[in-house]
Symmetry: D2
Subunit: 347 residues, 4 copies
Amino acid sequence: MTSSPLGVAVVGVGYWGPNLIRNFLGHPATDLHRVCDLAVDHARTVVGGRSEVQVTDSLDDLLDDDVVDAIAIATPPSTHHEIGMRCLEAGKHIMVEKPLAMSSKHALEMVETAARNELVLMCDHTFCYTPAVRAIRELVSSGSVGDIQYIDSIRVNLGLVQSDVDVLWDLAPHDLSIMDSILPDDCFPIEVAAHGADPIGAGQSCVGYLTIPMNTGAIAHVTVSWLSPSKVRQTIVSGSKKMIMWDDMKPYQRLAVFDWGVDIGPPAGDDERERLMVNYRRGDMMSPALPETVEALHFVVEEFSDAIRDRRAPLTDGRSGVRMLEILEAANVSLQARGVLVPIEHR
Amino acid sequence: MTSSPLGVAVVGVGYWGPNLIRNFLGHPATDLHRVCDLAVDHARTVVGGRSEVQVTDSLDDLLDDDVVDAIAIATPPSTHHEIGMRCLEAGKHIMVEKPLAMSSKHALEMVETAARNELVLMCDHTFCYTPAVRAIRELVSSGSVGDIQYIDSIRVNLGLVQSDVDVLWDLAPHDLSIMDSILPDDCFPIEVAAHGADPIGAGQSCVGYLTIPMNTGAIAHVTVSWLSPSKVRQTIVSGSKKMIMWDDMKPYQRLAVFDWGVDIGPPAGDDERERLMVNYRRGDMMSPALPETVEALHFVVEEFSDAIRDRRAPLTDGRSGVRMLEILEAANVSLQARGVLVPIEHR
Amino acid sequence: MTSSPLGVAVVGVGYWGPNLIRNFLGHPATDLHRVCDLAVDHARTVVGGRSEVQVTDSLDDLLDDDVVDAIAIATPPSTHHEIGMRCLEAGKHIMVEKPLAMSSKHALEMVETAARNELVLMCDHTFCYTPAVRAIRELVSSGSVGDIQYIDSIRVNLGLVQSDVDVLWDLAPHDLSIMDSILPDDCFPIEVAAHGADPIGAGQSCVGYLTIPMNTGAIAHVTVSWLSPSKVRQTIVSGSKKMIMWDDMKPYQRLAVFDWGVDIGPPAGDDERERLMVNYRRGDMMSPALPETVEALHFVVEEFSDAIRDRRAPLTDGRSGVRMLEILEAANVSLQARGVLVPIEHR
Amino acid sequence: MTSSPLGVAVVGVGYWGPNLIRNFLGHPATDLHRVCDLAVDHARTVVGGRSEVQVTDSLDDLLDDDVVDAIAIATPPSTHHEIGMRCLEAGKHIMVEKPLAMSSKHALEMVETAARNELVLMCDHTFCYTPAVRAIRELVSSGSVGDIQYIDSIRVNLGLVQSDVDVLWDLAPHDLSIMDSILPDDCFPIEVAAHGADPIGAGQSCVGYLTIPMNTGAIAHVTVSWLSPSKVRQTIVSGSKKMIMWDDMKPYQRLAVFDWGVDIGPPAGDDERERLMVNYRRGDMMSPALPETVEALHFVVEEFSDAIRDRRAPLTDGRSGVRMLEILEAANVSLQARGVLVPIEHR
């Protein structure tokens, strides 16, 4: 029985839905039965020619179908909570696109409902399943990076200006979910300062900055923009022993692990002008070979079906979605307060 | 008489002094007579073998020498004011490394003394004389970039941790001087928020961020770090018509001018959920050929000697040094106030 | 009737076949009915879950099916001729992977059979349908590049060492087909010198070089290797007015069009040591915006169905496949003759 | 006595001479007394203001000066033999720019004269003293690269079209000298095939290719061009254990050492269609930290003065200059014979 594939359905065939459909169809552990979208004809085109996958505009068709064990939700963010709750209440496991909901309160309600019904709630934080982030996570958790000192993440391009969310809510979730999955448990954000700019009169921030002090004294910084001439996706993870630079625009050398660093020694001399004793380590750079032949979403589908089979929390569980929303909500407050540091409330 | 070269001297033969010496010796408009440094032997080595340039450890030797018309000051920042004032009072034109002084008040005193004595006071903001910054300045002033929307500048590397100044005072002056020289007169910083981190226990910020709202609604952002694995020097100047990306680590393609942009049109439809009409222009990219054969400091020397000869203010005059200090001082206040926006006082 | 989609089938589901299947399924102008491969189970997996596409191991099933108008052949090269001839004799249009056949004689027979039966024979030279090659072709044909002076193409990576073909037959066809599609009609290869090396004892060349003089005095050079540490795909097309550099490893700046060049003026002076008067033009570089959202194979499918509908030769017709084989055959002779220039026989 | 600096002079203040002058002046082991050039005024400008270095247009002034122990010759190649012989006969050690002479016969005469007079004859093959080439040499000689399989070197840019030498003689010497200094003693060139093109009517090759089989079955290939839109300086050294890619246009990552490779195992199966058993190793990439703060010519000067002091042959001795000319001469013959492989005669 465990060997029969998981029956799945997808709700929402917009930007990301087609990727979910392709990966559910291509993975041996899942069997895509139904796709739901108000634009039925478009959904049918996406499903492709000569396909037996059922297309519908009614969510109930999915909820009522017993062969559908799990539902992936790729609708607009403002609908995640309602659709997610209906799925959970119908006994379906769910995987939800970022952000999990429009508020941490709503997200928490979803998490608790899933727990009560013994269902899996997974956030599709796709980047966390890329070979690059997996490698960074292992480098950090193995201790070879040392204590995290700072994280600097840049995600800018000429992106689609959204009408319902600002650039922080649109793009920073990627960086926050990556951070969340990389950081050790004893290192977490405690405050956030947010700045934004709307130089084109879009009515909301199109360029945004987050500054995020951690409980350990480390700091994270995120730059996001819809208005940048060329695509930059760069994350620096700096530790006391090594520094990792991840440049996702270099497909053949995404990661560079520098055996470089700076240490401060004890003050030298007892005269009044004590001088800093700074030691610079300038070792070699190593770029690990990453297994790149399989797309990250394949591993997302795998983690989802594995978690359901094993009745365990997935790597990017609902809690990670709640934590992200807590930071985004504090960022909203900071933005309104012109950039003051706002404490992050952990529910 | 005007054709005889300018008699010059250099004070301070540390990191930057040797470059000044080489360029004063190599420029036909200047004649280097004297070099002053407490470490006389080191200074003699820098001046080089078989040279007739006089080396001394006494500033008075320079001030008393009538053939010395102008003095370049490359000593530690904390000495700029005192040495500069003595030079000006001795009737010497001066060129001063950044920052001009340790406070805008001291800098202003130097500016006023120079004006009173009809002497040239130039800040050696070398980057402003590079082909890249010259080209950006022309693109902006010609109007082809349109209104400035935002500026994002990153300057990080594994740098020398300083004992007397933090990373904002050490590195951000480059970005601030570049911005100052690029921006049109009617677009200027009005506030600054500063964040810093000291993850290595250096006693001061080793990673720093500035967020700088402008009077026009534009925004500038500066990232500086002494602790980065690889050197990044990247500045984006985004306008309403074009966007410029300057990557100084690409010696054969420093500038990329994108004929890209985003415009917001009038709202479409009169229903409650008005939708944004966003137009994206995606034109070609142009990378201008830059004349790279001559080093920027050559043009600094030229501007200094031209300004003295023509009795005019140089491009990077003392006022630009004062403006930079006003921003750095406000940043200091913001840093102490944990990142709140602090107004920039223009003296 | 013309609006009903073209009925197609695919033979061979190895490396490239899955891409053909995905694109035939995704294009509105084609309707994929059948897929043929000896490994039926693998083929079924590739076709994907919940699909009505018929899978068979018998070519006759395709040839006998009247709804199949056209067949794409993605089997090993040594079978192209036999399978292609059977398809053509059964009245099916064909699209064939490179190389069209194992000899120009065989390829010519296929071309003539297709012509006699009024069928389309298209070579799937996919690169010729990329935005980059389309843009180069337009730049050359518009005259803005001037006369072609030289072409230098590098295609190296850590590739699969083949047991049946050497690296020249495996990789150079890409470069030769690109050249064939870029060059104007009055500029063509007349000779070829080939060098190869087999440093790993594979029994055939794993590194290869082609030098190809043209009728105009221009020269082309191709470097291919299975043994290179990092992937390089770089083609320079140098003309008398502009130079194009295509770097396919830079997804956000594939093409750089340099307004640079060198002209030789008339000799200056009548003394014995006449000196060259060389003029260097160093203008700006322009990188055209390329439409990258659609994969090249989509346009291959489109050209195939358009050509069949319009009863015309496709851009990469059978003749282009014959020309490629003429060069490869001459290269084989040169390789055996240790690199001498061998004339290319145009049939 | 040994601690007194070496008295040196420079002949020829054209393109390279100024660099020699700067480095002789800047190195504590050398004392530059005299500079000789027919253009005395230009030479004086290059020597710089306030200098006591003597400038002359007479070589005899150098030869007659007893404090001049050694002379660096940076005049046009056609004069190297005559000037070099006069220096050697006057008892001066010499360092000569590439190529050592216009023929291997002349070069050998210089080598033998130097030997007879117990003088040092060094070739200024500057690239051999860069941190990158030093690191490659060590990686090869330590055995970690394994057996050399192939070397591919590209050196193209928009260069100065020369009137007296073709592009192979102008640029390939750099690649040949680097190869010569990297290769172990038991691996050397035995033949060369040369192709060239003159698409601009310069009267000689402006684009050139060398294919160079080695005694071990390895192969080297060199691409040089004066007519390329962007500067490329790339050398691949491929061994049986590691592969090195040197990209000199990446100042912060010149070397990439790939723990990649391909091995051929024993044939699998006894059926008629034996299949290749190919093993691909795809390990990490390592980029060694290189000490970049000192320019390579500094080490050239050091090696020259050390060799004279220690009465030993320098790393790039006259023999290496003779070997380079033997290859260039064979390339000339090949070029005239339209690319046939020509044996390299080792004198």
